[in-house]
Symmetry: C2
Subunit: 237 residues, 2 copies
Amino acid sequence: MEAHGLMADRALLGRTSTAERVAEILRGRIAQGCFPPGARLAEEEITEALGVSRNTLREAFRLLTQERLLVHELNRGVFVRVPDVADVKDLFRVRRYVECSALRAVPQGSEGPAGLAAIAAAVRQGQLVLAAQDLQALGTADIEFHEAISDLTGSARIAELMRGALAELRLVFYVMDNPRWFHEPYLVRNEEILDALASGHGEYAAELLCKYLEDAEQQLLAAYGSAHTGKRAEHLK
Amino acid sequence: MEAHGLMADRALLGRTSTAERVAEILRGRIAQGCFPPGARLAEEEITEALGVSRNTLREAFRLLTQERLLVHELNRGVFVRVPDVADVKDLFRVRRYVECSALRAVPQGSEGPAGLAAIAAAVRQGQLVLAAQDLQALGTADIEFHEAISDLTGSARIAELMRGALAELRLVFYVMDNPRWFHEPYLVRNEEILDALASGHGEYAAELLCKYLEDAEQQLLAAYGSAHTGKRAEHLK
DNA sequence: GCATATTTGTCCGTATGTATA
DNA sequence: CTATACATACGGACAAATATG
């Protein structure tokens, strides 16, 4: 028992709204993979570990369910979402719509150097992380790169949509056995896109990204095909 | 007291999950304007009227808060969102991104007649409603038209985003003193867009819609400017 | 500025219904 | 089919914050 180390988080528990703080903690644990896709989040275990009441925890569950990180099955409890093939396709359809449009609009958009700086920072971060051999952080860096692209739209609402979509994407990454092998080629393509963007070729950058997304989708869908047999018994406990 | 007629909805209360049913009821009441923007939703009053416990009602509040229909102020309660100028701008920026892209992609997209039928139905509905002088339903018909356009993207995720955005738009409509005068010109433009789409001119339809959205945004922002002084004391009670 | 009443935030205990072993 | 475990929903309690006079 106590395989996820929630006890250590109890110290963080003492500032704003309890339910949101609990949600924040669980979000982090899910991103880290302490609760992998398909895992069930038992009410009693977590209330005990965090020292909050069931009502409060359930409010946190609602928040995360709305973010699509958890799925709620009536009278059965909440589970970490296991994205299926349709989810992956939808995810990439959204990304093509939003991210590519964002790049195309960048010459006309008012977001000049401010947005580019965030993208450049994400690229640098990816290179650092790769050198440091921190495989878990590779996904994070990639996601931050795409969040920065989405922010070019200048819409808080779209930014939120993409934050959610990319968080869900992290669950998809979970099917990849070797994160490094998967992420490494995309890091250099991230840099190419940044360069195209920095030199004012937004249309070309969008084209690069579009191909990039199609490749990534194909690769993930292929991984799904081969992973569908195993990978499950451990999560269902 | 009891100015919103919630008692009548008690009969509908008996199927799936209580919190969601409560949320559905409140959603409807907000759309109808029984709870106008800025109105506070008191816990005790509603628990009494609907016959549900406070915990259950609070869960329903969470759902609607996540949908941006309600805003939650710590230790003060929940209120129907009052969209500000920034909200309106963001709302229309999203609409231009999503709806116009959806129209542009329609010739290549696999959604042929299926999606068009839904759009045509919404246009017809708008004409019926106009004839029937049902001013409240005018906004609904217009919203359904744009939902149908968003569905052309074929992404469940984007469809959900737009459902939420358009529900919030209804709150914006609330500042218009005369719904008919506001909506009527757009009904004919809806029809023009449908015609362009039906004859395969997706690019032209997108152009029409883009202008349409800019006009509507300007008109609503102008209404906001003049309404900012009055319109408030009644809601804050 | 102060005291009071109201309302929310949080937690608990329990009864009922549902799914799974 | 029974038993167990769990989620749902209710009602009550008290502290804390807010609104009211």
